[in-house]
Symmetry: C2
Subunit: 322 residues, 2 copies
Amino acid sequence: METTIKDVAKYAGVGVGTVSRVINNEKAVGEKTRKKVLEAMKALNYSRNNMAFKLRKNETRIIALLVPIINHPFFAKLAYYVEDEAGKFGYSVILVSSQQRVEKETEIITKIMHREVDGAVFVTHYMHEEEDLNKCPIVSIDRTFGDNIPYVTSDNYDATKKALKYMIERGAKRVGFIGSKPLVNSEVLERERAYLDVMAEYNMPICMVNEVMQHGDEKVVVADFLEKYADVDGVFVSGYTLSQVFYEAAIKLGRKIPDDLQIVSYDGIFKQWSMSNMTSVEQPIEEMAREVVRLLIKKIHNEETSQRTVLNTQFVLGATTK
Amino acid sequence: METTIKDVAKYAGVGVGTVSRVINNEKAVGEKTRKKVLEAMKALNYSRNNMAFKLRKNETRIIALLVPIINHPFFAKLAYYVEDEAGKFGYSVILVSSQQRVEKETEIITKIMHREVDGAVFVTHYMHEEEDLNKCPIVSIDRTFGDNIPYVTSDNYDATKKALKYMIERGAKRVGFIGSKPLVNSEVLERERAYLDVMAEYNMPICMVNEVMQHGDEKVVVADFLEKYADVDGVFVSGYTLSQVFYEAAIKLGRKIPDDLQIVSYDGIFKQWSMSNMTSVEQPIEEMAREVVRLLIKKIHNEETSQRTVLNTQFVLGATTK
DNA sequence: CTGAAAGCGCTTACAG
DNA sequence: CTGAAAGCGCTTACAG
């Protein structure tokens, strides 16, 4: 059997309340008593059973992080900083890859209701039932759920606009857009809006594929795009995976990059992970992660939070633009 | 207040024990009573407080996964499958990036002792105090702790030998080895042993750098290696990050790959993450992850486990060998 | 400053 | 089949 607070109390010849007080470092305890208790703890090699502690306190000190798939540079980096920031507040993080299965989202809600975690950050783009969500401490990235779910996002609209204009200024005459459309309301949709606005402004034709995609669909979608819009000389690719696939496919088709075809991607740069060198809009992943954790912890403690937090991207030049 | 088992019992006009029995789907409960309780649960929107459940059962149903850094293709992929496999057994996984800080390892031990997690899988290569470890349900990948810590690994020795011979058969006359040396006993050391054996067998000179490295040291180490052994025409690179850095550096130095310099790496292939196309020894990450989880769960339940599990790698041809 | 007791929300022998 | 009670290991008013 593991040694409990009772054993310590008996050994030290005091009450369990007293032991609890020294464990929790409360001031109201005599020097001698404290010493006795400390010795007993050491002698018995005591360590607190935090299951009991958590039950009393009614907090798990755990949050869940729900990503589409952890095995992806964007989400892995996010997870890294989420864990780091949560740790600063004494929280652990449970990792869940939704694998595009809706049940996984529901599972998290259940975990919250069952008091297995205190809250969750949702980085997924699937369906769900609004009603339950609003009762739970949940925050999100990019996704706009409703008034009760704070989220952090990046300046999707402005950044996309800037990226498109950059290619146009460098000679692109026919500019395309390819993206994976989220299933739910998301700030990511702003990228499409920016594209449409820029095309209107420059009086250019729309060459866009922005579809709901399953993981793995990228190749087909890219191939379709490149066939349908064979004459584009500038493309905005929304998302890391898509941009890698797109780049490869374009090369294979013999397109000269950037002379014949310029590319800018949203999230195209993960130097650590790949040898690609794309011009891209880089999201402030670290800051997004840290901020989303701070929001969640506030939410858990019923503090006020702002509903929408926008962080700035960076436009990073690479070898895929002129 | 959240509704408890007591509320349900009162509402249904039964004892709490009975409610508990229907929650846990025990057979010994009358049909009518069961129905009454089920209705009460629904009416009150009851969901069990698992903190209390866990305290009673003395199990957290959580395991910890300790990796050097989650933001890395190998560990991210591992994490993905660890989570998936753990889920099959009803376990959640807490993610911890050690960030090369020893305290993080100790932290996990503490979490186990404090009953915050039931056990842990260690994929790190740092120091620790043996004594505590042996009391805890811990399993590992590659690392050999001692008789009490089961681990899974791959056929490091054979695979390395095969890779080296492959280059030699294709004309390599001067073959090097570059790796990041683990701080602790690890099967990864077998790769060095294989290299030394092969060099002896072919009577070739040793061109090896196998040092303890910090994250970020790779560039310097690679540069040193390429300067010191400027005339190697075949190199075995141990590890993903190192192989990416090595490849880039070699290219920059004007080395023609594979004509002038062949490369084989251990863990060089992560198609999802990069556009590289290396010849490499591919570890069965999914199977390693699943197996290590199974081992841990057995350990948690005090079942017998084998101490060492070796899984086979695959030798995958890419563009970096002749 | 300290002890005895109640209680967090469950499960599980023990009777009946 | 079912209820009353004890207990999991803590914390926290309440007295003193």
